[in-house]
Amino acid sequence: MAAKKLNIKDKYRLLTRDLDWDFSYEDPKKAFPYEEFEGIKITDWNKWEDPFRLTMDSYWKYQAEKEKKLYAILDAFSQNNGHLNVVDPRYVNAVKIFLTGVSPLEYQAYQGFAHVGRQFSGVGARVACQMQSLDELRHVQTQIHAMSHYNKFFDGFQEFSHMHDRVWYLSVPRSFFTDARSAGPFEFMIAIGFSFEYVLTNLLFVPFMSGAAHNGDMATVTFGFSAQSDEARHMTLGLEVIKFLLEQHEDNVPIVQKWIDKWFWRGTRLLTIVAMMMDYMLPNKVMSWKEAWEVYFEEAGGALFKDLARYGITMPKYADVIEKEKEHISHQAWWTFYTHGHAAGFHTWIPSDQELDWLSEKYPDTFDKYYRPMWELAKEQEAKGERFYTSGLPQLCQTCQIPMLFTEMDNPNQNSMRDTVFDGERYHFCSDGCCDIFKDEPEKYVQAWLPVHQIFQGNCGGPDVGDILSDYYRMNVGVDNMDIKDSPDEQRWNKWKGVA
């Protein structure tokens, strides 16, 4: 009998969608108990459109090919001491932030997608989430392997896992992801599958990785682009989820809009650190944060929201504030880390004169007016032998957990501060965006493990900051932290390069 040819859509339907069956011995609600409490209405999972139609055999085949390529490069990188090819040892500090701040998020993404990949009762969506879960596990593991070589030659990588659970600035990305994972399955998909994957990871994995290539870091660019090749699948899943929810029931629209507002705000706050990595931590510049933002958020995100307008979805709330903040946040963040360089697990520095000029050129409306004077002051202090490390501990935002470093866009000299009272206790926020998120779910956000308050409660050892850094954070004090100048990293680099 001559077999008829199956096209990819039919084949995928038969090999995946057709595997499920209607339960008759148990209540399906017991098998999939989390699908209704968020208020999302799914009338027919069969309407789900599979964005990509990968069966496991193709998945193994293509992913194995990617892995083979990637590990060949990582092997070559370590055999040839590839770390010597980076343009400048300052660059490596961006990679430290990556391993301590981003890689553990990949792990949380693996867990989160495994959860929704088990809990959705629609098999199409479920399998897509399972594959994403597996991909995310890939990302954390390839990142650890890529940075394993750096860990052998530079400080600040060695306790990445321990630090991620505890260190003050790492509480920012960590709380972002635990917020999403502790939410219901549909909110998780809007948070991570849509807002984070579709718009925000591009900013990390595309311009920053291109920057890694431009700074001689073959290991990072290789895992970065290799990971991002899975991301294309993930982005499409995110977009498919949102279209599906919006098409299923009109009552879903306001719920989805609320989540979009929340997660875009939370995402832009999280990306502050990426802004700083791009503008200040890449010695060879590819594009400024502002330019990257315009390409990947304003242009790409704008097109996306125009596409979603037919469902009644509008641009995320406070998009107007976000647009103004692109001129400011990278400078504010690097200043914060520079002045807290004694409490960071990586090195900080004053930008070179050439870099200051590049920043002036890229930020003509804000840099000279607001931020160059800071570096003039820092240089003055350093020349006096008083490298500025700020005293005390900063006030943190209850929602995003970032020190309250952001300023008012109508007066960028003044920090932006909001507060509200819930259940007799006052809570503080860096912005209207973060304040709104709290007010919508105060019972959730009162649980925030705010590092500064935890230190004052005595839960992080101490009381001296030095003891907290060494005992609770397991930082190698005087080695991992402080200015790059005279650090062991710099001294080793100079020795390798034969520089006196």
């Binding site: 700020t390 005293s391 309250m404 000299n413 920090n415 501060m417 705010l450 308050h453 004052f456």
Partner: protein, 120 residues
């Protein structure tokens, strides 16, 4: 507004209740338009602490690194407590003049506008 949770009555544990701070309460201090300090600073202080002790111990520790600090004329300083104008009474405790847990105290220094007059 209550969160939407699987079971009704979701109530997370309040992590920063004043009882958790061993007799202290948290007070934040911020110097307006002085961005050398990236954010306001947090201190655990006994509610019974008089404001004079805040002026002697806390304010210099928090802001003494700024080149303008020594030039502050404290008589002309404008204070805000939790977004309301505030006149600190030096010999009165924090608690007795309304500075409670997680209060934010901000001050402006007329005439001192930051490093080189640029808000830094």
């Amino acid at each position: 507004m209550p969160v939407f949770a699987l079971k009704p009555g979701y109530q997370g544990e309040r992590m920063d209740r004043v009882e958790n701070f061993g007799g202290n309460q948290i007070v934040y201090f911020g110097w307006d338009e002085h961005r050398m300090f990236c954010a306001a600073k947090a201190f655990p202080l006994p509610p019974s602490m008089p404001f004079s002790a805040v002026m002697e111990q806390i304010i210099p520790e928090a802001f003494g690194q700024h080149p303008e600090f020594s030039q502050i004329n404290w008589d002309s300083v404008e204070w805000m407590l939790n977004n309301e104008p505030f006149k600190p009474q030096l010999d009165v405790s924090l608690e007795a003049q309304g500075v409670d847990h997680k209060s934010l105290i901000r001050f402006k220094t007329p005439g001192l506008t930051g490093y080189n007059g640029l808000g830094v």
